[in-house]
């Protein structure tokens, strides 16, 4: 057969063949499907449960929402304020601690390799513990209430902030640092004048983001006894007052929604 002419004419013969699916792809796909089926069986997945969930008569227990109870100051507003207080304290504490830790964790600004490796591995472990695990552990340690919650969220924001901010430090321009070093600066002044000014806007932006995360997290802290509005949810849940639960959840939902919109708007201006 002649080679295809140069005019770019496409005939049936010159049509490219479809790439063949490699056997390995089939094996991976089969493994994923098999795992999904197995996991679904363990979890109790059953398409009919979707219908059962919708048609469950218990939904009626959620309605109507007792608004006069929900809007009473002592029931919801005070715990909500406590939630904000937890979030503020732990954001400031966590982000404040994160500044030196993140600087110690980046190869650019770390005083030496030992510090770098040690802080990195510690922070990896800290981050692998979910936030409410910290809350539960600290509730056990220091007692039920917002105090434990603030500690837990501080640890959590430290972990998140260090991760985000140390990446910003990694990506910082190394030249001012070299200049400061060449001028004979010691470690601390070099980091302060060479790196810090260039990454400070990111620090503030991430701080706001962590604050947003903390507000969300502090809303549910109370479910494990660490203060805030979650403890109202937990208490009413145990009394089977699902209408009140739903009322509180509506408030929570509004708060999260508003905070997210505001935070996104602020961060858009900052970055």
């Amino acid at each position: 057969m002649n080679p295809p002419p140069e005019t770019g004419r496409t005939t049936a013969q010159t049509r490219p063949t479809r790439p063949r699916v490699r056997p390995r792809t089939w094996i991976v796909a089969a493994a994923v499907v098999a795992y999904t089926v197995a996991a679904g069986r363990t979890v109790g997945f059953n398409p009919s449960t979707f219908w059962q969930v919708w048609s469950n008569p218990l939904w009626e227990k959620f309605w109507p929402i007792p608004w006069d109870w929900v809007l009473d100051r002592h029931n919801v507003i005070d715990p909500l304020i406590e939630t904000f207080q937890i979030a503020i304290v732990s954001t400031v504490l966590g982000c404040g601690l994160a500044l030196p830790v993140a600087l110690a964790m980046s190869p650019l600004t770390s005083p030496n390799r030992v510090v770098l490796v040690v802080t990195r591995s510690i922070m990896n472990v800290v981050r692998a513990v979910p936030d409410l695990f910290w809350a539960k552990l600290l509730v056990t340690a220091v007692g039920i209430g917002a105090f434990a919650g603030s500690w837990a969220l501080s640890v959590f924001s430290l972990a998140v902030m260090v991760k985000l901010f140390s990446e910003a430090v990694d990506g910082a321009d190394p030249r001012p640092l070299e200049a400061a070093r060449a001028a004979g600066g010691r470690h601390m002044p070099v980091v302060r004048t060479g790196v810090l000014p260039t990454v400070l806007p990111e620090y503030v932006a991430y701080g706001l983001y962590v604050f947003e995360l903390n507000i969300r997290a502090s809303l549910v802290l109370g479910l494990v006894g660490a203060g805030g509005i979650g403890r109202v949810v937990e208490a009413q849940r145990q009394y089977f007052r699902f209408d009140r639960v739903l009322g509180v959840l509506v408030i929570v939902f509004v708060v999260v929604f508003v905070i997210e919109q505001v935070s996104v708007a602020i961060r858009k201006r900052l970055v």
């Binding site: 999904t36 996991a39 679904g40 363990t42 979890v43 109790g44 997945f45 449960t49 059962q52 969930v53 218990l58 227990k61 304020i81 406590e82 904000f84 207080q85 937890i86 503020i88 304290v89 400031v92 990896n124 472990v125 692998a128 513990v129 979910p130 936030d131 409410l132 695990f133 539960k136 552990l137 056990t140 340690a141 220091v142 917002a146 603030s150 500690w151 998140v160 985000l164 990446e167 990506g171 910082a172 321009d173 990111e202 983001y209 995360l213 969300r216 809303l219 549910v220 479910l223 494990v224 949810v233 639960v245 959840l249 929570v252 939902f253 999260v256 929604f257 997210e260 996104v264 961060r267």
Partner: protein, 305 residues
């Protein structure tokens, strides 16, 4: 630049924004003081807290692995992973078609706006809150957790997938339109092949987040390892708590590492020479950077130089 006038008198003046800075600092200080006043903090508690916390961790010291294994903790950890996986699958299956309806370049405004608002609304409800609502309906157990995670994942996955679809190259879309393809074919052949790698890595990333979420969900009775942690803490059996924690951390870290490696492989391709063109890599890398930098904030939150 300074080298032309090295004398002291020519030194540039520092910008005068100090007033605003002090104002902001004062605001933060006032907020912190007000917050601390509401948290029942006394000097006594503050000073003894680190000691108390350290005490709890110290008592975990030889973790009781054999006891934990007898109680079936490894199975519980795996159950958490199963819950996260099924939740991610539910979220993925529901969110992908919806994302096509929400993307600005392929969907008309009258359907785009409500779908986007739906994503926003779902994203604003934390998994734990969903689980609190679902548990009385479905009963205690892992199905409540999987469903809660699945519903919550629809919000984030939908938003991310929408952004991926909005970033596609319009060329293939035009090509399908030029051959007379209908809307569905242009989605299938014009958009889906372009977004599938990014969307798959988004699913995997969401799976990582969901593993953490599902371990927590167990604490309120939605299946998985959380319930084990709570009950051991109630019994003050700290050695077992230590074992539960270590197993959870190990699984979470292992999944993070494995999933990050797979995502890297999906986005960057294998080691074969000359993969997708440079432009493509850049776009995908930007998406990946957004994903890996932040958990739920979405791409607007981070900026990489």
């Amino acid at each position: 630049m300074m080298e032309a006038h090295p004398s002291d008198g020519d030194r540039p003046v520092a910008p005068r924004r100090a007033g605003r800075r002090w104002g902001l600092a004062a605001l933060v200080v006032v907020a912190v003081v007000w917050s601390i006043s509401g948290l029942e903090v006394t000097m006594d508690r503050l000073l003894s807290a680190p000691g108390d916390a350290w005490d709890v961790f110290r008592r975990m010291a030889p973790p009781a692995f054999s006891e934990a294994i007898d109680r079936g903790v490894p199975g519980k950890v795996l159950e958490s992973v199963h819950i996260a996986w099924i939740g991610t699958m539910i979220g993925a299956v529901i969110s992908l078609p919806l994302a096509f309806l929400a993307a600005g370049n392929v969907s008309p405004a009258w359907i785009r706006t409500p779908v986007r608002q739906l994503f926003n609304v779902i994203r604003a409800v934390p998994e734990l809150i969903l689980a609190v609502i679902l548990i009385p309906i479905t009963g205690l157990g892992s199905w409540a957790g999987a469903l809660a995670i699945g519903i919550h994942s629809v919000g984030t996955l939908g938003k991310w997938a929408t952004e991926a679809i909005e970033g596609v190259d319009p060329g293939p879309l035009e090509a399908v339109a030029a051959t007379g393809g209908r809307w569905a074919s242009s989605m299938r052949w014009g958009v889906l092949p372009q977004v599938l790698p990014v969307v798959t890595s988004q699913w995997l990333f969401r799976f990582e987040i969901n593993v953490r979420a599902s371990t927590v969900l167990g604490m309120i009775g939605a299946g998985g390892v959380g319930s084990e942690l709570v009950s051991q803490l109630v019994f003050r059996n700290f050695a077992a708590v230590g074992a539960v924690l270590i197993m959870t951390i190990a699984v979470v870290m292992a999944i993070d590492t494995a999933s990050a490696a797979v995502r890297q492989r999906i986005i960057r391709g294998g080691t074969r020479p000359g993969g997708p063109d440079a432009d493509d890599i850049d776009r995908n890398a930007a998406v990946l950077a957004d994903l890996t930098g932040l958990s739920t904030g979405g791409p607007s939150s981070g900026s990489r130089p």
